[in-house]
């Protein structure tokens, strides 16, 4: 079976000389590294928005950046997952409809229900700049829960979440693991490590 995420011989000198591993369906793999160790650059390479020096990265068997690698994948960046000047609800609906491949009308109710369940119904009617980092992080993770992706790559998914909401954030990530390959790029203190199937250290 083709691994959902495959990284073979990735390098980002001088920080990462060589990195090879795979993430299969149903696995949550944590890639652990110190701040500045090149995790975010790897994230950009996986998302296909940055060229790496030499690598053979494959997402669902396709090259990063190709439509095939993106259409069933969710990439959650540390910051700037949403535009500053558009209401969060509007952006979330747009994002979910894109990832599900359906019209915006068909996802409105799901987004509304999700916001209510997460107690974010007031926050979703605001611009991202009006929210605190913890709320923004939960909104960033929403597509992982709402779209049943095949691949989810998360850069520091719990870093900005307040202590009281770590459980809520994990409840968005963990159900996705059943059908997806989930790769979390984290520091060694991240609570997500307790739930990881494998830990890769760089």
């Amino acid at each position: 079976m083709t691994p959902y995420i495959s990284i073979g011989g990735y390098s980002d000198p001088p920080r990462i000389p060589h990195l090879s591993f795979e993430v299969n369906r149903g696995e949550l793999v944590a890639l652990v590294g110190e701040p500045g160790s090149g995790k975010s650059n790897l994230m950009k390479c996986l998302a296909g928005i940055r060229k790496s020096v030499r690598d053979s990265i494959r997402i669902l068997g396709a090259e990063p950046g190709s439509m095939r690698s993106r259409e069933k994948s969710v990439f959650v960046f540390q910051t700037f997952n949403y535009a500053q000047d558009i209401f969060l609800r509007t952006q979330l609906i747009q994002k979910i409809s894109l990832l599900r491949g359906v019209s915006s009308r068909k996802v409105k109710d799901d987004v509304h229900d999700w916001c209510e369940r997460m107690e974010l119904q007031d926050a979703c009617m605001k611009y991202p700049e009006k929210l605190n980092l913890s709320q923004l992080q939960l909104f960033s993770l929403a597509p992982v829960f709402l779209t049943s992706p095949s691949v989810a790559v998360l850069d520091e998914p719990l870093r900005n979440v307040s202590t009281s909401r770590v459980g809520a954030a994990l409840s968005l990530i963990l159900p996705a693991v059943e059908n997806a390959a989930v790769l979390a790029l984290v520091q060694k203190t991240s609570p997500i490590l307790e739930n990881a199937d494998r830990i890769v250290t760089i």
């Binding site: 998302a47 928005i49 990439f75 700037f80 509007t90 747009q94 491949g101």
Partner: protein, 242 residues
């Protein structure tokens, strides 16, 4: 069109409808009123001669077009530079969206807003005139719309290659240079300058003359097409090199 193609168009429209971007258009009415007043004053003083009704109408529409060109161009430089330079835009490329729509979406959104403003402004100008006289409406409105297309296209290119402020300043200089082409005493009537300098001013002076006015419109459209093709090329190079 699927959501993948219109994602950036929709997002751009939502961004452009915010006060920050729509505000500059509020400058149009007072600037237009000032220009009409100044022209009427100069005419009364005998500086510019007496205008016929047709000339007054064309001049009023041209004033609207020039001011809109200026505002749309400056706004485009600022908007495109901010849009394509944002981290949000970079991160959004990981979504299942057409990456080429990342260029065309914001461009078409900006052009849509500018087009709506053009027809609102020229409509208001025509409504404000006591009489409009008899002249080829469609030709004049179409030819004077070309500078608006040119402004947004130039804004797209400048917004890609430089900062919003630098792009805006360069654009203002370009408009002023183009404005000179409408002054026959200052500008040669033939030669390579005819093709190289955007004939923004000349479009006005020739907008009632067929086919000269049409030729100027075609030259300006060619400028727009070149700016867009270059912009599209630089955009694709840019997103691959990120």
């Amino acid at each position: 069109m699927s959501g993948r193609m219109v994602f950036y168009y929709k997002s751009s429209i939502l961004l452009l409808l915010r006060t920050r971007w729509m505000g500059p258009y509020l400058l149009l009415p007072p600037m237009l009123a000032f220009m009409v007043y100044a022209e009427a004053y100069l005419s009364a003083q005998g500086v510019t001669g007496i205008f016929t009704l047709e000339q007054r109408t064309v001049l009023a529409i041209w004033n609207a077009s020039l001011l809109l060109t200026l505002i749309a161009g400056i706004k485009s430089c600022l908007f495109f530079s901010r849009f394509w330079g944002s981290f949000w835009f970079r991160n959004s490329l990981s979504l299942p969206v057409s990456r080429s729509s990342g260029f065309w979406g914001p461009f078409l959104a900006t052009l849509s807003v500018a087009t709506v403003m053009y027809f609102l402004t020229t409509g208001a100008v025509i409504a404000a005139l006591p009489e409009t006289g008899r002249f080829p409406w469609v030709q004049v409105l179409a030819e004077l719309y070309v500078p608006v297309i040119w402004a947004v296209s130039a804004g797209a290119l400048l917004g890609l290659i430089t900062s919003g402020t630098a792009g805006s300043l360069f654009f203002i200089a370009l408009v002023l240079l183009g404005f000179l082409t409408g002054m026959p005493s200052l500008y040669p009537s033939s030669g390579w300058l005819q093709v190289v300098v955007p004939p923004v001013g000349r479009i006005m002076t020739l907008s009632l003359v067929f086919p000269s006015g049409l030729m100027q419109a075609i030259i300006l459209l060619t400028h727009s097409a070149v700016a867009l093709m270059l912009g599209r090329f630089l955009y694709s190079v840019g997103i691959k090199r990120r």
